[in-house]
Symmetry: C2
Subunit: 198 residues, 2 copies
């Protein structure tokens, strides 16, 4: 892409390296940036740098946040006796959006994956066990419903059960609005196993 000159090409490539951004979108974004007023571009770059600098893990639940204790852990109205274990901050946000959960979270920052070389020590499991020393009644394991997530859930359940604390797993089954015809066999058989009385 010699016809753009160095700086534009560099900017396009920088955007192209981000997830989900192809060559066309990268070009559109690059030219959008170049056509933005200088102050807005500076504010944009500053937002990126500040976020990278300020964002860290909550000391309590390890979610990504910009304060020592995240807003959820700091909220006195949240039920500290129930901990939902999630793989990352975006999964936490997904549950927060439902507005149906009033407990606190524990963010693992990953899931056990022998394939990717991610072991028990690489995720925040030790920190979860430490938290159980407080007054915890239930641990809800909300890791993803894939091999890594299930492996992690099994491991957590084996780890916690001896302590006598209740360990639960979010239900696996047919998504709301889902058409049975298009749903895979694994999900259907899980939905059957998890059936409840009407």
């Amino acid at each position: 892409m010699d016809y753009y000159g160095n700086q534009i090409t560099k900017l396009i490539n920088a955007f192209k390296s981000l997830p989900g951004i192809g060559a066309k979108s990268a070009g559109r974004l690059a030219f959008h940036i170049i056509n933005m007023p200088k102050e807005e571009v500076e504010a944009f770059a500053d937002t990126i740098l500040t976020a990278k600098e300020k964002v860290r893990c909550c000391k309590c639940c390890y979610t990504l946040t910009d304060s020592e204790i995240c807003p959820i852990c700091a909220d006195p109205k949240r039920d500290k006796t129930t901990i939902m274990v999630v793989e990352n901050t975006r999964d936490l946000a997904a549950y927060e959006k439902t507005g149906k959960y009033n407990g606190v979270y524990h963010v693992l920052h990953g899931a056990i994956s022998p394939m990717l070389g991610i072991g028990v020590e690489d995720i925040r499991l030790k920190e979860l066990i430490q938290r159980l020393e407080g007054d915890v009644k239930e641990v809800i394991v909300a890791t993803n419903s894939n091999i890594e997530g299930e492996t992690t859930a099994m491991y957590i359940s084996k780890l916690i059960k001896p302590t006598g604390i209740k360990v639960t797993r979010i239900a696996s089954g047919v998504p709301v609005g889902g058409d049975l015809e298009y749903i895979d066999e694994m999900t259907l058989s899980r939905a059957l196993d998890g059936r409840t009385e009407l």
Copy 2:
């Protein structure tokens, strides 16, 4: 989105303000940035700022570039007697990718649009006329094939014809690989009007 804290929310909103980026993509991009090594984030922000600072219009054809004269205008092998008029730098890039054009360009930075309040004075038309004082044999008008692009093409043709310089317009018709059944009536009638002998 209180559960993210200020900085992450700001970063997500910054990405959301870019064209073609929705809430989900913005979240993914923000967390990608936060999980990137610090040096890479700094390099990314620097690329944005440097591009904004260094990129300007080529003194000759007004395309966006980082040198006084863009690589195309500076190339002695390009035919300076043929000028292709395009609306913006990305349209120039689109024609460069074909590898079929050996002339130079003129970038208008827009098209005449009474709807958007863009008049003759708001695009680089005066500069185009000034360039014609040199040794120019043909002006190819490659503005978009929409109302604004056609209006601009008509205006340019009226402006240049009295000088005796040849003015041409790129062909409008059925795109290669296009299925007639799905092509709009306007395009089909243009393709008919522009038919050539076999």
